[in-house]
Symmetry: C2
Amino acid sequence: MIERPPRPRSSDATRAAILAAARTRFAADGYDRATIRAIAADARIDPAMVMRYFGSKEQLFAAAASVTEVDLRIPALAALPPDRIGAGVVAHFLARWEGDEALQVMLRSAATNETAAERARDAFAGQVAPAVAALHRDPAEARARAALVATQLIGLAMCRYVLRLPPVVEMDREELVARFGPLVQAVLT
Amino acid sequence: MIERPPRPRSSDATRAAILAAARTRFAADGYDRATIRAIAADARIDPAMVMRYFGSKEQLFAAAASVTEVDLRIPALAALPPDRIGAGVVAHFLARWEGDEALQVMLRSAATNETAAERARDAFAGQVAPAVAALHRDPAEARARAALVATQLIGLAMCRYVLRLPPVVEMDREELVARFGPLVQAVLT
DNA sequence: GTCTATAATTCGATAGAC
DNA sequence: GTCTATCGAATTATAGAC
């Protein structure tokens, strides 16, 4: 084996490191304030490499918040106990919000980045709406109900993670489920 | 009267013009993307004048989204027909959201600007919480209920004005009141 | 009061050596 | 694959002439 002084990293590992740093930065700062330089520093990588791997900041963002990443993984609602659907949805989303930065990336970036807003609409149309549609006969009504569910969850996320409204931050997950579950339940049934 | 070539404008009118342009820009673009240059261009004023009048971009933002401007003007809830409080609150907020840019300034900027987020918390603590408190004996319960109302309204605003979720955008005010009114009513009573 | 010129940064992106 | 150097553009902010 010939030695290679700059110690080339594996391409996949580098890509993954950049993506992880990008998600964290985009989630914390939003699209505009998150800089390629800062992301590269977090990933302990030269800023030029970010460009080499992803082409542009916009493409990096798209990769960091891709539809696959914003997988809401909504459980089959019909499979839940009928009177616990609301609580199940809220508990599921709290776990998703706090376990995956991709959702906060979308939320914090959507305010100033149309790509992020579009991704939010895609996630709604592709995941929330279909899941709710299974519960209603009338498609128009299902669509409206799904939108109501979305406002509940987006409002909760905004108040808890972005605005950091004290009462919403202080509540633990259990209390949030107890308070929001019935509201979502009422919207869905 | 001696003529003054550069035609000095009245200080108040200039201030007002800058503030109006700033609110529009901050509301449309958020704090980061709204530039002093663009605000000055909208106000047909030299960018340097913005600095002269307000000192810095941060101070201009504070003035454009000051607590006085984010006056929610929540009506006395106890004065409403008891069974129409929810609908009244929703109708009131829709009118406020769409009639005053200051609220959208706050919402769109809060994602990346801590000053904006703080102002949102102030508006909640100073206006929403007290209004709701009048309806409940237990202060802790009133605080939690107020937070729930806030999530409803913030969620609605985010989906309608920022994410622009199609179903929420397409509904007219009347339908929104009909759908969200009962939810807010349930939270409040 | 108004505006020109510019300082001082910062950013995304590119070129090219190794 | 990696990194240095840098370009060109955009931004906030300041200094000073008129």
